[in-house]
């Protein structure tokens, strides 16, 4: 470049378009070589697989970058080095995902069967109920998770959707609306345990110190859900093109009917997705329930009275109780964890599916 800038050289010499390039097979070969070298040394010195992987990675990063530097020049080498680093983050991020999935499935699948879903833990010591001989199960926790989550959803969704409608359709530029939008954002960051403490403080002030019920858990979960629902709905309503609203206004349709008949149906897929994601988020919550919903060994269908077990709390108490049957409890905890993960992931999948199914076919 610099020689092109010489003032005495008005005729610019074209730089060659052809530049030496590493062959396409260079990255896999370099990777293989690094792995082989690290593997050999590692086996000799007795490193574990993790050590070998780390050393191979360092070798690849340094070696491959060096190779590129030698052949393609500095800029290309830097480019390749960062590409390697950036892709590495992906591999690193997959480690916990694969590990968690593997552990949950391998440790949890054994115990799962019809009994596991049909029985509760009443009278269960060790593996089985000492009276009936039936194995213990998670029926009570499933019932609790279902009831508490449903109740929370019933509270959070109307408030959340209406608030989003206010923000997008009515408030738009008012200071009040901007304050709410901002606080909703901040509210998404409220620690769940704080939501639990809030529900506890509120309800024990009203009903006395010993108050525990599923409803308390629902209140806490609703506090967590509302901002998620508001945000999701708000985003979706904003995505509804103003053109549609204007098309409706131009037909002489009043605003509220436009919202109900045009805007909401158009955004329905997105809202359903957001609500489902919010449900998925709270279905796995533990801390607030630990504080206000209590725990029990039998199924309780009444959210307003009596303690309720939920899947997350069941997992937690199973592993932390210890004692003679710690192993059996841990096995049930892994089983319940598998069930919980499947439920939450299915909800996430369902959310995407809903989004796909109900998304209006855009013209383009």
């Amino acid at each position: 470049m610099t020689e092109l800038l010489e003032p005495e050289a008005p005729v610019r010499r074209p730089i060659p378009l052809q530049a030496p390039q590493l062959p396409r097979w260079a990255p896999p070969v370099a990777l293989f070589l690094s792995l082989a070298a690290a593997g050999l040394v590692g086996l000799l010195l007795g490193w574990g697989p993790a050590g070998i992987a780390v050393v191979a990675w360092v070798l690849f990063l340094v070696g491959f970058t060096g190779w590129a530097q030698a052949i393609e020049g500095r800029r290309k080498a830097v480019d390749r080095m960062f590409a390697t680093l950036i892709w590495s983050t992906f591999v690193i991020a997959m480690v916990p995902l694969v590990s968690v999935t593997w552990e949950v499935v391998s440790k949890g699948h054994g115990i799962i069967g019809a009994d596991f879903f049909a029985n509760d833990m009443r009278g269960v010591l060790g593996e089985t109920n000492i009276v009936t001989g039936e194995p213990g199960g998670i029926k009570h926790a499933l019932v609790g998770t279902l009831m508490i989550t449903l109740t929370a959803t019933a509270m959070a969704v109307p408030v959340g959707v209406m608030a989003a409608i206010y923000l997008v359709e009515y408030g738009k530029r008012t200071r009040f609306a901007r304050t709410i939008t901002f606080l909703v954002d901040v509210m998404t960051g409220i620690p769940s345990i704080v939501a639990g403490l809030f529900a506890f403080s509120l309800l024990t002030l009203i009903f006395g110190a010993a108050y525990r019920s599923g409803f308390g858990g629902s209140v806490a979960l609703a506090v967590i859900m509302v901002p998620i629902v508001v945000r999701a709905t708000e985003e979706m309503l904003k995505l509804v093109p103003d053109e549609l609203r204007e098309a409706s206004y131009a037909l002489g349709v009043p605003k509220w009917r436009t919202i109900v008949k045009v805007v909401l149906p158009t955004a329905f897929g997105g809202i359903a997705t957001g609500v489902t994601l919010a449900v998925a988020r709270v279905a796995g919550e533990t801390a607030p329930l630990l504080i206000i919903a209590g725990s029990t060994t039998v199924a309780n269908w009444n959210v307003f009275e009596g303690r309720m077990m939920t899947l997350p709390v069941f997992i937690y108490s199973s592993v932390t109780t210890g004692g003679k049957y710690a192993a059996e409890q841990e096995a049930r905890a892994w089983g319940a964890a598998l069930v919980l993960v499947v439920i939450v992931m299915s909800l996430n999948l369902l959310a995407r599916l809903l989004g796909k199914i109900f998304s209006p076919k855009t013209g383009r």
Binding site: N129, V131, A210, T321, G322
Partner: protein, 345 residues
């Protein structure tokens, strides 16, 4: 009423139904779970819940009437007016207080090459006070001839949460080795003494199991396969067996305020009685002498449940399933009499 030798009339119990709520000391949780399960074999229609909310929470909820009975690691005193309040709650009659759960606190350890460990009270206190930091310290070696102690750092594990186990353990240390242990009797571990903090009994067991050259204290019922130390009592070293633990109540004097219906003790940790294990956690049941009105049905159930717990069958079931020490025969019959005395109007 009849022959109450094994805890009430089986036929009576079989007719019990409904629900009763109790709760309190978490030390009893495993045993309570066992008893609740065992109770379903004799009273299939009855539902009992036990909330392990802690001794203080249990007493509080008992006084407020939310619990029909409570489990507590310590007996009621009037230091904060609890005894008076509890008496009020029970219609002016003093509440009954009976020991129902006795469990040795085992000194669990995980030291390479060391199975049998004898610890003098002083050595034990030194280790947990952070004054003895190596396994081959002379204070330990002196009582363990022939054992090859590693020259490794001691990983002393304690409860990081507030705990009745810690209270009983430090009560013991304070009584027998006050020179080494000068933090007094505490429920929450004094951090300046160092060591690894672990949450809950199971946390301590986990930490000792997965640690190296580690030692900790935990309810013996949860010690699992870990090696347990023998503790110096007089001239001998005693292992934490249920029998050895149960003995301590026999040698301990009744506490101030004990009565026919309040079988409460101040444990004599300094005993030199042969075969007595001195580090013991004793937990009591607290209930009313009379249940009436609204509470009658729950009281009936509570009485049935309590009588099951203190029956020989119940105590044995607790020992089998939760590793507690069954009450000695003498104490057992006293306790059963107290429960029999509960009336329901």
């Amino acid at each position: 009423e009849g022959d109450s030798g094994d805890g009430g009339d089986a036929a009576d119990l079989a007719n019990l139904s409904g629900e009763v709520a109790g709760g309190g000391a978490s030390s009893q949780e495993a045993a309570q779970l066992a008893w609740i399960a065992g109770f379903t074999t004799v009273a299939p229609e009855a539902t009992v819940t036990y909330d392990p909310v802690g001794s203080g929470g249990g007493r509080e909820s008992f006084i407020s009437g939310a619990f029909a009975f409570a489990g507590s690691d310590s007996y009621l005193t009037d230091e904060e007016g609890e005894l008076t309040s509890a008496t009020e709650r029970c219609g002016g009659e003093a509440p009954i207080q009976i020991p129902n759960y006795i469990s040795p606190i085992a000194i669990i350890h995980n030291v390479e090459g060391v199975d049998d460990l004898n610890l003098s009270p002083e050595a034990l206190a030194g280790i947990f006070a952070g004054k003895i930091t190596k396994w081959d310290d002379p204070a330990i070696a002196a009582t363990n001839e022939g054992v090859s102690l590693p020259s490794a750092a001691i990983d002393a594990v304690h409860r990081s949460d507030e705990s009745g186990t810690t209270e009983n353990f430090t009560d013991y240390l304070d009584a027998v080795a006050a020179t080494q242990w000068d933090a007094g009797v505490v429920e929450t571990w004094p951090e300046e003494y160092g060591g690894q903090g672990a949450q809950g009994t199971s946390g301590v067991v986990d930490a000792v199991t997965s640690g190296t050259n580690s030692i900790g204290y935990a309810d013996a019922s949860q010690a699992g396969d870990l090696a347990v130390a023998n503790i110096g009592v007089g001239e001998e070293f005693v292992a934490p067996t249920p029998d050895a633990a149960a003995k301590i109540l026999e040698v301990s004097p009744p506490a101030e305020g004990a009565s026919d219906t309040a079988l409460i003790f101040d444990l004599d940790h300094t005993t030199a009685e042969a075969g007595t294990y001195p580090i013991v956690l004793t937990s009591y049941l607290i209930a009313c002498q009379t249940y009436s009105g609204d509470e009658a049905a729950a009281g009936e159930l509570a009485k049935g449940y309590l009588s099951y717990i203190v029956s020989a069958e119940g105590q044995q079931f607790g020992a089998d399933e939760a590793g507690s020490a069954p009450l000695s025969d003498e104490l057992s019959s006293q306790v059963q009499d107290v429960v029999e005395g509960i009336t329901v109007e």
